[in-house]
């Protein structure tokens, strides 16, 4: 693999850019791999990357039924934050955020991490108390956040209306090193690094069955034939229940559609990410100038990547109240992704009832921000067969033991 650098750009500029090589190879599947990762989204590719980088396991295939990064990795609002209430969540999300800081250097691929700052608005007395509690928890967890007053919010976000009649802005939970990154580049960067370590990334290859012998996984059947494996990592977000069904167990997961949409591009007007969870919308401005907007999840099971229109209307309406300047903006595109929701809104990184099958799922509406931390923790789980400190609390057994990591309340969001 040729490294990307300023000199490479200069060199290619002198020869009509004819020398760029493919970022990753597209091989046919081998007969057997030590580890097969199902799902070439951010989480799957990050799992493979840290398996190679940290644990030295490179006889790995990442198989994907569609195209690389074409699921939720390419369908989110690219927000990165780690201001969670519960200790296990703060640990894994902060690990992810910290890895994002130098991910571009690590992967030699510009993921455009932009720690522009992130505000979660407090718009009711209850929300203010909840977020102050999160700030205190974050300070104990080593996650840098602070509470700021309404005037400081206005200084940071001049386009915001802090005097709304029904939901005035009373302050905000501020994470200065939160922000955004280029979502596709995260998948592409990991894919390139994995391919460079000799791993096979096999796209257009759908898993149709999981073969087991004596309670242990021995391989998978795919649309490109049968492939044997020593270990199997299922990292497929919305389709986790479908894969679990193939392996013969059920998960505490329900799949639903979550939508996002962008406006027409406008001049730079907001250089932080703003989340307004009481009125339920969040917005940031992309580097292209589009206002990137997200809202609530549908309440019913759905695999179609199409969401309900009324969420678009409700969220946009709420954001127009919060940001009157956007009221005349045209919306450009809208899309949906299938999120895998757990009851406590925390992820699952776990062993399963079948030997050597591991699952990484349940990230729900917070998948993108956690990609590096999730991959790091999952790689340790797959390599050692037992969870490390980051994944330990996120096992499937927490449901049986009533040991929930309750983030549905902490997020203050009704999804």
């Amino acid at each position: 693999m040729r490294r990307y650098s300023m000199f490479a750009v200069a060199r290619e500029a002198l020869r009509f850019h004819a020398g760029w090589e493919k970022a990753w190879k597209s091989p046919e599947p081998k007969k057997r791999y030590d580890v097969i990762v199902v799902g070439a989204g951010g989480h799957g590719l990050a799992t493979a990357y840290y398996l190679g980088k940290v644990h030295g396991i490179t006889n790995v295939a990442v198989i994907e039924k569609g195209w690389l990064g074409g699921g939720n990795t390419g369908r989110n609002t690219t927000i990165i934050r780690s201001n969670y209430l519960q200790d296990p969540s703060a640990a894994i999300y902060e690990k992810a955020r910290a890895l994002y800081e130098d991910l571009s250097q690590d992967l030699n691929y510009n993921v455009m991490f932009s720690p522009r700052g992130l505000l979660m608005l407090g718009q009711t007395e209850h929300e203010v108390r909840g977020y102050k509690r999160t700030v205190y928890a974050n300070n104990l967890q080593g996650v840098e956040t602070r509470w700021i007053g309404p005037q400081e919010v206005k200084d940071l976000v001049p386009i915001i209306n802090i005097d709304g009649p029904r939901y005035p802005v009373l302050g905000a939970l501020y994470q200065e090193r939160g922000g955004t990154a280029r979502h596709d580049a995260v998948a592409w960067g990991y894919a390139r690094a994995c391919s460079n370590m000799g791993m096979d990334i096999i796209q257009q290859c759908e898993v149709t069955g999981i073969r087991t012998e004596g309670g242990q996984v021995v391989g998978v059947d795919t649309s490109k034939g049968s492939i044997d494996c020593g270990k199997l990592a299922i990292v497929v977000a919305g389709h986790s229940s479908v894969l679990a069904e193939m392996a013969g167990f059920r998960l505490p997961i329900e799949s639903a559609a979550l939508q996002a949409w962008v406006s027409e591009p406008i001049k730079p007007c907001m250089d932080v990410v703003v989340m307004a969870n009481t009125v339920h919308g969040y917005m940031s401005q992309s580097d292209k100038g589009e206002m990137v907007i997200g809202g609530g999840t549908d309440g019913f099971n759905n695999y179609t990547q199409r969401g309900s229109w009324h969420h678009v209307e409700e969220t946009t309406r709420a954001l127009v109240e919060t940001f009157p300047i956007i009221s005349r903006l045209k919306m450009l595109r809208q899309w949906g992704g299938i999120v895998d929701m757990t009851g406590d809104r925390s992820p699952i990184l776990s062993k399963t009832p079948v030997g050597n099958i591991f699952v990484n799922c349940g990230w729900g509406t917070g998948g993108f921000k956690s990609i590096p931390g999730s991959g790091f923790a999952m790689a340790e789980l797959v390599a050692k067969g037992e969870p490390g400190p980051l994944a330990a609390e996120f096992g499937l057994n927490r449901f049986k033991e009533g040991r929930f990591i309750d983030e549905s309340v902490a997020a203050g969001v009704a999804h």
Binding site: V242, R250, L251, T304
Partner: protein, 107 residues
């Protein structure tokens, strides 16, 4: 937009008039059951990609709970029926089989 006909009041309601209630026909386990049974009742869900039986409430209408058979892969609705049933009635099963000949049946 998803529309369902309430089997009680007969109104064809769109989604904003309804509240979703998750998987239908769960077998309840309470005191005296094993940990596995209780966990599976509380948390494990079929979450199928295809035919799904689910609970809905006509929240901004007559207020009654009812059940629906719907396809999660296409959003097609096969029918709605009374909540006072232990498993899907024959006409609903027939409606699903007519549209999904390969369907394995209710289990």
């Amino acid at each position: 937009m998803l529309t369902l006909t309430c089997p009680y009041c007969g109104v064809t309601a769109e989604e904003t008039e309804l509240a979703p209630g998750g998987e239908a026909h769960l077998k309840r386990f309470g005191p005296g059951s094993s940990d596995e049974e209780f966990e599976s009742y509380m948390f494990a869900r079929k979450n199928p990609k295809g035919v799904h039986f689910e609970r809905w409430r006509h929240a901004n209408g007559c207020g009654k709970w009812f059940l629906a058979a719907r396809c999660t892969a296409t959003l097609e609705v096969f029918g709605t029926y009374s909540a006072q049933t232990k498993e899907p009635p024959a006409d609903i099963i027939a409606a699903i089989k007519a549209k999904r000949p390969g369907w394995e049946g209710y289990k």
